[in-house]
């Protein structure tokens, strides 16, 4: 149940909706009022909130995990990279929580109590793992923040300039935790929650229904303190502006614009997308507000790329990156990503480590909602699973995961209705989709289907094969010229092929056979001569063999009729009698034909595999893990 009191300064009604709220800011006179028993103490005027074009306002209501909540207060905080809001929530079950709003990213958290001691703020490091409320988190941000202003009801005392050392942590499931050392540098307040999609919260009474103070050009127009060029800020939340005339990097977070750094104008590049350009990327309206050139150095060579800062729906920040004509659309991930064995796992997909490097900012122009620092090194690790790329960017105070998706130039041109043709892509980019991948997959799919069909045909013919037409043993002796006749066998219908096989019990000798296949009905005869030999032995302890005891010959285009086979043999004079087993049959499916077909069918997938692989070789040539190294090349040259 809420409680209403009178502001001791102006007499206006001040309502405490939550029992945990101990501080309220009078909406009329901005007095900071603190509950002291039944009385309200006035701590003085609260500083004015900085206009930030948030879509939220006090009184807005939503639903999270089946519970309704309302926004009853706000703290606006500033850290070195910019501003963010902490909205005080009152749930319908009477509990309170926080909705963090930063750069279009939203996180809801609730206070928890943990008996185990946590490290003091001074001992925390970005990337450090901590177990909080039973979950393992990784520290993503260490913020030496301070309170800018507050409004509405708050559960603790705050005032402008109040220091707020905070550690933000995330886990791989998207859970979020904050350690707030504002009151105690050793024993933090703990808040646990999760990143949320703004649209999923079922909002009502958002700020869109009320007049949002539009920033005027006059209000934010100023002259560059370095070159006096006229500049203007189109968004109130902007922390940094890059002067396009002289390369100055300016701090615009206060009314007094300060020069932060001066970029080398030699590094100036005319952006393809003009500042202020609006477009629609993947169904989301975006506006280009900033452009920066970044640099990394490898083997003494500088590599530079462009990054466009886009403002999307609900003040969400997006990035368009461009290197050598290759474009990526990137956004920050609201979670930690597990890295193990040189791979990062995200969305149940393994991303292979591509490269690690130090990235610097060379040049900026336009507006940036964070404090841009020239030449501040950020350690970057890239992991790829085309068409996506995961990057972990780590500084002393922050670790951020971003995911990027490769974008074809046609999509970029359509999104921004470009009239200028972008630079054609050069080389192969880290997460560029392999254009031969789909073709290879389809060819492989067809290979397996054709293989299955071939095996089915072969198996069906094997099972359908009939037994031999004749099987008989014949014995031949040296010097015996008399032909041996087999029993008669019948071909009920003409056959295209008839196979006659011999299995001779040869032992280091030979036999020469003259075959005459005769049709007894017509008198036609077909002849063939066969030489069967088999020798084997042991020489110097090594066994050897030559020839075969088996032989087969095929007669073709035989008419129907009754047949008999006559065989004459020639043997060595000193040979022992040789017994041959004769087998006459219609030949069945050949294994050799099956293997030849498989070989022919495999040529295509082998070719597409090689073609796909050569693209991957080019991709990884630019990485820390090239598939072909310079030594491999020199070896092959040799």
């Amino acid at each position: 149940m809420g409680r209403t009191a009178r502001c001791p300064s102006c007499g206006a009604a001040v309502e405490f909706k939550s029992v945990v709220s101990i501080l309220a800011v009078c909406d009329y006179c901005q007095s900071t009022l603190v509950r002291e028993g039944k009385e309200l103490a006035n701590l003085g005027k609260m500083a004015a909130l900085v206009e930030d074009r948030s879509p939220l306002q006090r009184g807005a209501a939503g639903r999270w995990q089946g519970r309704r909540f309302a926004l009853i207060g706000r703290i606006q905080l500033r850290w070195e990279q910019g501003l963010w809001n902490e909205w005080h929530l009152l749930f319908d079950d009477g509990k309170s929580g926080w909705l963090s709003e930063s750069g279009g990213e939203y996180v809801i958290s609730e206070p928890v109590w943990q008996p185990d001691a946590l490290p003091p703020f001074a001992e925390l490091r970005v990337g450090q793992s901590l177990v909080v409320a039973g979950h393992a988190y990784s520290i993503t941000n260490l913020l030496a923040a301070e309170c800018v202003a507050g409004e509405g009801e708050l559960p603790f005392k705050v005032s402008s300039g109040y220091p707020a050392p905070v550690a933000d942590m995330r886990d791989e499931a998207g859970r979020f935790a904050t350690l707030d050392y504002s009151d105690d540098a050793v024993r933090p307040l703990i808040f646990v929650g999760a990143g949320v999609a703004f649209a999923s919260l079922g909002w009502s009474n958002l700020r869109q229904g009320t007049a949002i103070a539009e920033p005027t050009v006059k209000a934010r127009a100023f002259n560059c303190p370095s070159c006096a060029a006229p500049l203007a800020v189109g968004h109130e939340k902007i922390e940094t502006v890059g002067c396009p005339s002289c390369g100055a990097v300016l701090d615009t977070s206060n009314e007094t614009v300060q020069l932060l750094a001066q970029a080398d104008l030699d590094l100036k590049v005319e952006p393809l997308l003009a500042l202020g350009a609006r477009g629609s990327l993947r169904g989301e309206a975006v506006e280009v507000i900033g452009f920066m050139r970044r640099r990394m150095t490898a083997d003494g060579v500088d590599y530079r790329w462009s990054e466009y800062v886009l403002l999307g729906r609900d003040a969400r920040l997006l990035w368009l990156t461009e290197y050598d004509g290759h474009w990526n659309l990137a956004w920050v991930l609201p979670r930690a990503v597990r890295v193990a064995g040189g791979a990062a796992v995200y969305d149940k997909e393994d991303f292979k480590h591509f490269q690690s490097y130090q990235a610097y900012v060379d040049y900026v122009v336009g507006e940036f909602p964070w404090r841009v620092r020239l030449d501040e090194a950020a350690q970057v690790e890239d992991y790829v699973a085309p068409p996506r790329l995961l990057s972990r960017e780590t500084t002393a105070s922050e670790a951020t995961w971003t995911v990027a998706e490769y974008m074809e130039q046609e999509e970029l041109q359509q999104a921004f209705k470009l009239k200028v043709q972008p630079q054609a892509p050069t080389g192969v980019y880290a997460n560029q989709p392999n254009p031969h991948d789909a073709s290879h997959r389809r060819v492989c799919g067809r290979f397996w289907k054709l293989l299955a069909a071939a095996l089915a045909v072969h198996a069906a013919l094997l099972m359908g094969a009939r037994g031999p037409l004749l099987e008989e043993a014949l014995v031949f002796k040296p010097g015996d010229d008399e032909p041996r006749l087999t029993h008669e066998f019948r071909l009920a219908a003409p056959v295209s092929r008839l196979e006659i096989e011999h299995e001779a019990d040869l032992d280091n000798n030979w036999i020469s056979l003259g075959l005459t296949l005769a049709n007894k009905d017509t008198g036609e005869a077909w002849q063939a001569a066969r030489e069967i030999s088999r020798y084997e032995g042991v020489d110097d302890g090594e066994s050897w063999s030559e020839g075969s005891r088996s032989d087969a010959v095929v007669f073709t285009a035989l008419p129907a009729g009754n047949y008999v086979l006559a065989e004459e043999a020639d043997l060595a004079a000193n040979s022992r009698p040789v017994r041959t087993q004769v087998r006459v049959s219609k030949p069945g499916p050949r294994w050799s034909s099956l293997f030849m077909l498989l070989g022919a069918l495999a040529l295509f997938p082998i070719y597409t595999r090689v073609r796909r692989g050569s693209f991957e070789v080019k991709r990884w040539a630019e990485s820390d893990h090239p598939l072909v190294t310079a030594s491999d090349d020199s070896d092959s040259d040799d």
């Binding site: 060819v443 045909v457 006749l485 092929r497 036609e524 005869a525 077909w526 006559a566 030949p587 034909s593």
Partner: protein, 48 residues
């Protein structure tokens, strides 16, 4: 490429099936001698 492969594969599979049905193999040893009418001796041999 996949479409060409499909056409090639179906043709190859058809030829394979036909050859397998007839028991024809690329490495078969085929009797080269054409059909002949046997002489009197041979005739008597087969028409005993």
């Amino acid at each position: 490429m996949p479409r060409f492969y499909l056409i090639f594969g179906i043709l190859a599979l058809s030829m394979f099936s036909y050859a397998q049905y007839n028991g024809a193999g690329l490495f078969d040893d085929v009797a080269a001698a054409p059909a002949t009418r046997p002489g009197a001796a041979g005739h008597s041999t087969f028409h005993k």
